[in-house]
């Protein structure tokens, strides 16, 4: 393994500074406030949809910024995609079984 690869393997992109993470944190807190506020008003059957959408956005922010997925090599993003796809297949198959029982 050559020296340049060694450096690249451990370094994050230069943009990941203190300020960047604090901005992401502010965004996460804002989305938490939004989801709590939305739960207070009656949205009927949209409640679960909005709650899970906001949770997914928050998770994506954590994955790509706090967990450095955006600056990792591409194979990491492919791995995460495959893992989530596997979980999605479990969910879909379970509900097919449940719906047509």
């Amino acid at each position: 393994m050559n020296a340049s690869h060694e450096t690249a393997s451990s370094d994050q992109s230069p943009a990941t500074t203190y300020g960047h993470y604090v901005l992401i944190w502010i965004g996460l807190v804002a989305l938490t406030s939004l989801t709590v506020a939305l739960a207070g008003i009656s949205l009927g059957r949209w409640v679960i949809f909005t709650a899970l959408t906001i949770a997914s956005i928050k998770s994506t922010m954590v994955l790509f910024h706090f967990m450095h997925l955006r600056s990792e090599e591409r194979i990491f993003r492919i791995f995460v995609f495959v893992a989530l796809l596997t979980l999605a297949i479990f969910v879909v198959l379970t509900f097919f079984d449940y719906a047509f029982r």
Partner: protein
């Protein structure tokens, strides 16, 4: 690991594969995803089959406690992410302080959880309690899932605290240092996963009333 390092030191250069180390950590995290994913599927199926009872049971939970714990975990994710930046910049003391704050926030989360569960126990709500067995099946299922899922999550918080405690010491001793901090990255990844699981547990149990 340490014997490898010794051999490498004798040879004059250190063999390291940080990408491989992080990939190993991610693979472990995928097993955690499947572990909690299975429980989320159980939750989804029972929520559909006992919709009204789940809505009713959720009213027992204190949204305020859940919101505070969400903010605690989000902030702890920030501090552990910042600790990596601090260490990379060579600010060892600041990095240790940030890891220390993360541990304290985790402790705060658990203290909150302790009071929350104690309150439930006082109301007679715990798995197999006399109060609960007289409730409709959906309510029993809801609280069963509530205790198992938030309990398993709390166990992960405790394990995370141990990992962070080790990292605090490792930074202090110079085992984790500005030119070699993949262990801190791996510990951080674990902590962020714990955060992500809570990001989903929070709306599913506390907000869908």
């Amino acid at each position: 690991m340490s014997s490898q390092e010794t051999v490498a030191a004798v040879e004059g250069h250190v063999h390291r594969d940080d990408v491989g180390s992080r990939m190993g950590m991610w693979l472990f995290l995928f097993t955690e995803l499947i572990l909690f994913g299975g429980l989320f599927i159980v939750y989804a199926v029972y929520r559909f089959s006992h919709f009204a009872e789940f809505q009713l049971a959720a009213k027992e939970l204190d949204t305020m406690v859940g919101t505070v714990n969400t903010l605690i975990l989000l902030t702890s994710s920030l501090t552990v992410a910042l600790s990596i930046v601090a260490l990379r910049d060579g600010r060892k003391g600041f990095s240790m302080a940030l890891v220390g704050v993360t541990i304290l926030l985790a402790l705060g989360f658990l203290v909150n959880k302790y009071f929350e569960w104690s309150h439930k126990f006082d109301l007679g709500i715990y798995p197999g309690s006399a109060t609960l067995v007289n409730q409709p099946p959906g309510v029993v299922l809801y609280f069963g899932l509530y205790f198992v899922m938030t309990g398993l999550h709390a166990l992960h918080v405790i394990i995370g605290m141990c990992v962070l405690g080790y990292l605090y010491r490792a930074i202090g001793k110079g085992i984790v240092r500005p030119d070699s901090y993949v262990r801190l990255e791996a510990g951080g990844l674990y902590w962020h996963l714990v955060d992500i699981i809570w990001i989903f547990l929070f709306p599913l149990f506390y907000l869908l009333q």
